[in-house]
């Protein structure tokens, strides 16, 4: 009894040990002990390991498989158990373990190198966890391992070369990790490998030549790595291979013809590499091939593949290469083709639509976009009765859309944009009950939009932009209940919008801009509650907006510009998520509603060219995202509300042509983004605030035609980006600040019609980009014209007229070679004009008493004018003499012309037998000959070359030529 008691005690101690820490140094604890140690390292929120307890026999624990004698664990399967924590380093004590499956959990930490001691392990499945670190080299000791799947983890480093020792391995899964380095060449030792998955790592280097040793390999996937170099020809020896996926690497060179020997291949993808050369026709030997994707490489030459040989092919993708020529004839055999997808987009294929494609009867998707195909679309297209997607955009297809397209009853998307298709949209289109997307934009189609189109009730997107469709939008458009996008911009549509459009309740984008659509907006638009963007600009819409538009709460973008809408803009303000509102150039009236400010994200507000009145609402200060703010050309009154100083994002601030008054607010200087400020044609008074100089990004500053007074601030020189400065027609006084020389990018400067005094600062000569105009006219400027203005060599117009400028016109102004308008008139200039100015009109210089030289009177005359003036009678006498003489000369010449014409008529009549057209041609030559004779002597040398051919042609008509000569001689003698 004592011994049994003793035994019980030992057992109790063992269990106690398994619960507490091990420090007693027992040689061989039971496997359950190590399993509980394993459990203690895991976090088990789902309670999968709840029954792993010393109270129960371990073989009853979840996820375990035991040996028949219940002493050893053979398998652990805890896949998809929501476990986290790390894998115990002590698992190796489970020496009989054959299967360890911890896949699809959230385990972290590294793969314990001690696992290499599990000599009986056949399957190690750790995929889809968050394990990190390297693959332990010891993994290579698992001589019996058949399946190793550790992908979809955070593992990194090189793939240990010891993996080549796992000669029993059938499945190796290392995809979706961060492995780098190259594929170990020892991989070729794995004679029994069936599946090798290396996708989505950072592996580089070459594919090892030795891979051909994997004789049983059926699936090789190494896509999305950085593999480079050639595809080894030895891969042709992988006769069992069914799937080869090397997509998205950096492989180069050409496809080895040996790949044509992989007779079992069903799937081949080389997409997204740098492969080049011709596609080898040997690939046609791959009769089992179902999917072939060679897209996005640099393959060139003609398409050498044939569906007639690749009988099992269902998908062929050759898009994004440099393939030329047409699709080969007999590409498909009509009765046997299984080809469902043919993608040839983005090549340089050319020629007409290959009619033999119509034999690919199983085709579901055909993409020939972005090529150079031309000619008409074949009428037999409907033979492709299974076709769901037809994509022919960005080619040069021409001619009509064949009406037979209506028989392609499975068609879901018809993408034909950017071609040269003409003619009408056939009414048969209405038979396409499954049609969801129709893109015909950028073609030359014309005629009306057939009402039958509205029978295509599956339509979600219509885009006819940039055609010549005429007539009105079909009355029945409301039948398109699924329509999201209606894009009809830039056509020639007219008539009113049919009210039924309001029943397309799913509509999100409506673009009818750039047409000739007229009438008012139908009240049914209130049902378009999902409408997000509506653009109606450049049409002939009119009348007030229906008040019920206020129900459209989802509007983001509204552009009704360039129409004749009238009344209040309030109906458009129901949405509080407007980002852009453009009503430019309509007849909207009334005040600007402060409700606009509910759209706090409004960035573009353009209300210019309307009849809006009242004040600018002070609530606009809440529009802090405002970027483009244009209220110009209205009847707004009052002052600029100070709250607008909160709108710090304003780049375009345009208030011109209103009745706004008050002073220019100094806070304008705090708008750091300001690029364009136009307050012109208002009633602003007071000074130009010096703070404006802080707007260093300002490109255009237009304050002209106001009542601004005081000096032009020195700070103007801080506007170093300024291109255009227009301050004309104000009451500005004082000097032109010399700091203006810092505005180095200015190309247009207008300061005219003010009360500026002092002299023209010579520093203006530093503004060498001045081009459009420098206008200082109608001021009180005095002193001399600075010679530095001669540096403005790009200047095209210079106006300093109506000032008090004195002295001579500086000779340096002759350097202004770009000048084509010059006005120095009405000053006190004196002396001789530079001779190069003689080309300018008199008016450029008038009103300068002491100025002389062409085009004014010559300086000699003007000098003697005081004492040698002609009397009035002398002037009259000279004029009479001139008139008389010139009348005489005219009469003589008239007589000569009549004589010449008379003689010439005689000649013409005498030779009418030659035929009318020919006759006329001879006449032309004759006149030419005459001119030539008159010019003889003067210009002969210059013109001799040019006239030589026409002289030659005159040879057959010497007779007429002689007559002509006679006529002239007669004429001469008569004089």
């Amino acid at each position: 009894m004592g011994s049994t008691q003793m035994c019980n005690l030992v057992l109790f101690l063992a269990i106690l040990h398994s619960v507490l820490a091990v420090s007693l140094g027992e040689d061989k604890p039971a496997e359950s002990y190590w399993l509980l140690r394993f459990k203690s390292g895991l976090v088990d929120p789902a309670g999968v390991l709840d029954n792993w307890s010393p109270r129960a026999h371990m073989c009853s624990w979840n996820g375990l498989t035991c040996s028949p004698d219940q002493t050893h664990v053979l398998g652990i399967n805890l896949s998809s158990s929501e476990l986290s924590g790390s894998i115990s380093h002590e698992l190796w004590h489970l020496t009989s373990l054959e299967i360890l499956d911890l896949s699809s959990n959230s385990l972290t930490g590294s793969i314990p190198s001690e696992l290499g001691k599990l000599q009986n392990l056949q399957m190690l499945l750790l995929y889809r966890n968050s394990l990190s670190g390297k693959i332990p080299e010891e993994i290579g000791l698992l001589k019996n391992l058949q399946v190793l799947r550790i992908g979809d983890n955070l593992l990194s480093g090189e793939i240990t070369p010891s993996i080549g020792n796992l000669t029993q391995l059938r499945v190796l899964g290392l995809a979706y990790c961060q492995f780098n380095g190259s594929i170990p060449s020892g991989i070729g030792n794995l004679k029994h490998l069936v599946s090798l998955d290396l996708q989505n790592n950072s592996l580089d280097g070459h594919i090892p030549e030795e891979i051909h040793g994997c004789e049983e390999l059926q699936n090789l996937a190494a896509s999305n790595n950085k593999l480079e170099g050639d595809i080894p020809a030895s891969m042709g020896m992988l006769r069992s291979l069914q799937i080869l996926n090397l997509a998205n690497n950096s492989l180069s060179g050409s496809i080895p013809v040996e790949l044509g020997q992989i007779s079992n291949l069903k799937y081949l993808s080389l997409l997204g590499n740098r492969l080049s050369g011709q596609i080898p026709s040997q690939l046609n030997q791959l009769v089992q091939l179902e999917t072939l994707d060679l897209s996005v490489n640099n393959f060139s030459g003609a398409i050498s593949l044939s569906n007639a040989q690749l009988k099992n092919l269902t998908t062929l993708v050759l898009s994004g290469n440099a393939l030329t020529g047409n699709i080969p004839s007999n590409f498909c055999l009509s009765n046997s083709s299984k080809l469902q997808q043919l993608f040839l987009a983005r090549n340089t294929l050319s020629g007409k639509f290959q009619l033999d494609l119509l034999n690919c009867r199983s085709l579901q998707q055909l993409d020939l976009s972005d090529n150079n195909f031309e000619g008409g679309l074949p009428s037999g297209l409907e033979k492709l009765e299974h076709l769901t997607d037809l994509q022919l955009n960005n080619n040069s297809f021409s001619g009509n859309l064949p009406s037979e397209i209506g028989n392609m009853s499975n068609l879901e998307s018809l993408i034909l944009f950017d071609n040269m298709i003409t003619g009408r949209l056939p009414p048969e289109i209405g038979k396409l009950q499954r049609l969801s997307t129709i893109y015909l934009y950028d073609n030359q189609m014309s005629g009306g939009i057939p009402g039958e189109l509205t029978n295509c009730t599956s339509l979600t997107k219509i885009d006819f932009f940039g055609n010549h469709f005429t007539g009105s939008i079909p009355e029945t458009i409301g039948k398109l209940k699924n329509l999201n996008v209606l894009q009809l911009r830039q056509n020639e549509l007219s008539g009113p919008i049919p009210p039924s459009l309001g029943y397309c309740k799913r509509l999100q984008i409506m673009a009818l801009a750039d047409n000739k659509i007229s009438g008012t907006l139908p009240a049914t638009f209130r049902f378009l509650t999902e409408l997000n963007k509506i653009t109606l600009y450049n049409n002939s819409f009119e009348g007030p907006l229906p008040a019920s538009l206020f129900l459209l709460k989802n509007l983001n973008i509204i552009n009704f510009s360039h129409n004749r809408f009238s009344g209040s803009i309030s109906p458009l303000l129901g949405s509080n998520s407007l980002t852009a509102l453009d009503l430019t150039n309509n007849s909207f009236s009334g005040p600007i509603p402060s409700a606009l400010t509910q759209s706090r994200n409004l960035s573009r507000l353009r209300l210019a060219h309307n009849h809006l009145s009242g004040e600018i609402p002070s609530e606009f200060g809440a529009l802090t995202k405002l970027n483009f703010f244009d209220l110009s050309f209205n009847n707004l009154t009052g002052e600029v509300p100070p709250q607008l100083s909160n709108c710090k994002k304003i780049q375009h601030f345009l208030l011109s042509n209103n009745q706004l008054a008050g002073t220019m607010p100094p806070w304008l200087g705090s708008l750091e983004e300001l690029g364009e400020l136009d307050f012109s044609f208002n009633k602003f008074h007071g000074n130009i605030p010096a703070e404006l100089g802080n707007c260093s990004g300002l490109l255009k500053l237009s304050l002209h035609s106001n009542k601004l007074s005081g000096n032009i601030p020195q700070e103007i020189g801080n506007l170093t980006s300024l291109n255009v400065l227009t301050l004309q027609r104000n009451n500005l006084s004082g000097l032109i600040p010399s700091t203006i020389q810092e505005c180095k990018k200015i190309f247009e400067l207008r300061l005219s019609e003010n009360f500026l005094t002092g002299s023209i600062p010579p520093e203006l000569g530093k503004l060498t980009e001045l081009q459009v105009i420098l206008d200082l006219s109608e001021n009180s400027l005095s002193g001399e014209i600075p010679s530095s203005l001669g540096n403005l060599i790009k200047l095209e117009r210079l106006n300093v007229s109506l000032n008090h400028l004195q002295g001579e016109v500086p000779f340096s102004l002759t350097k202004l070679t770009s000048l084509h308008m010059l006005n120095l008139s009405n000053n006190d200039l004196q002396g001789q004009l530079p001779s190069t100015f003689s080309g300018f009109p008199l008016s450029s210089f008038l009103g300068n008493e002491k100025l002389c030289g062409p085009p004014l009177v010559s300086c000699l005359e003007s000098a003697g004018q005081d004492n040698k003036g002609l009397s009035n009678t002398a002037v009259v006498g000279i004029i009479v003499a001139i008139v008389f003489t010139s009348t005489l000369i005219c009469l003589v010449m008239l007589y000569m012309i009549v004589r010449i014409w008379y003689n010439w008529r005689k000649v013409s009549i005498s030779s009418t037998g030659g035929g009318g057209a020919e006759q006329r041609r001879e006449e032309e030559k004759w006149e030419y000959g005459e001119k030539e004779k008159r010019r003889n002597g003067e210009y002969w040398k210059v013109n001799s070359m040019a006239l030589a051919p026409s002289q030659d042609k005159q040879n057959p008509s010497t007779c007429i030529f002689h007559f002509k000569m006679d006529a002239e001689i007669t004429g001469n003698t008569l004089v």
């Binding site: 799937i243 799937y267 993808s269 999917t291 994707d293 269902t314 998908t315 993708v317 997808q341 993608f343 998707q365 993409d367 997607d389 994509q391 955009n393 998307s413 993408i415 944009f417 997307t437 893109y439 934009y441 950028d442 997107k461 885009d463 932009f465 940039g466 996008v485 894009q487 911009r489 830039q490 984008i509 673009a511 801009a513 963007k533 653009t535 600009y537 552009n559 483009f628 780049q651 375009h652 690029g675 364009e676 490109l699 291109n723 180095k744 990018k745 190309f747 980009e769 081009q771 790009k794 070679t817 770009s818 084509h820």
Partner: protein, 212 residues
């Protein structure tokens, strides 16, 4: 699996063909130009291709029909190259790209700018030849290409530009002789200095590209 993958690729391709909501050829041309340029000071920040037209972009001026007539990018710290798409701005009158760091060849497509009055590309790093296609710029009055790295001879075709008043190619690497016909009879010698040019053309005696 493979089929599903392909289908999803196809579908995503379909989705990527968004409706042509922003199609405007001049705006697209300018936006293509922007993509070729390096713009460290964000001069082109306002060039938003989603807008109806480029007329509210800074440095762009339009006429009343919303056609681009001026492009003012002088002194803008931009580098990069020009592309053929600039030739699509058919209504452009002023092309001002002076004093930047733009390099590469001058695209021959600029010859399509029939309405161009002024082309100011001085002070850049343009290289290659002056395009012969400039002979099509029948409205051109001002052509300033000085201070670049242009080479080759001055195309004789330019002598047909009747309106040309200002022509400056000084400080380049041009060779051959200087034309004397047409507007070239009146250009000052300063327009040609600092090149490898061999003086005025001597018709019939020396080929115009002598020494090139």
């Amino acid at each position: 699996m493979a089929h599903l993958y392909l289908l999803s690729v196809f579908l995503s391709l379909l989705l990527s063909i968004s409706p042509s909501l922003s199609s405007n050829s001049e705006g697209n041309a300018l936006h293509a130009l922007r993509s070729r340029l390096v713009d460290p000071t964000n001069a082109l920040q306002s060039w938003d291709p989603a807008l109806v037209n480029p007329c509210t972009w800074f440095h762009v001026v339009c006429d009343s029909n919303s056609h681009v007539t001026r492009l003012d990018l002088g002194n803008s710290n931009i580098s990069g190259t020009l592309g053929p798409e600039l030739g699509q701005l058919k209504h452009l009158k002023y092309l001002e790209l002076y004093r930047n760091d733009i390099g590469g060849k001058i695209p021959k497509e600029l010859g399509n700018l029939k309405n161009l009055v002024s082309m100011d590309m001085y002070g850049n790093k343009f290289e290659g030849e002056i395009p012969k296609s400039f002979a099509k710029l029948k409205s051109l009055i001002f052509l300033r290409l000085n201070n670049n790295k242009l080479s080759g001879s001055i195309p004789r075709e330019l002598t047909t530009l009747k309106e040309l008043k200002v022509f400056d190619v000084s400080n380049n690497d041009l060779c051959g002789t200087i034309p004397v016909d047409g507007p070239f009879s009146s250009f000052p010698m300063e327009s040609f200095v600092n090149n490898r040019l061999n003086g005025p053309e001597l018709k019939g005696l020396v080929p115009y590209d002598f020494g090139c």
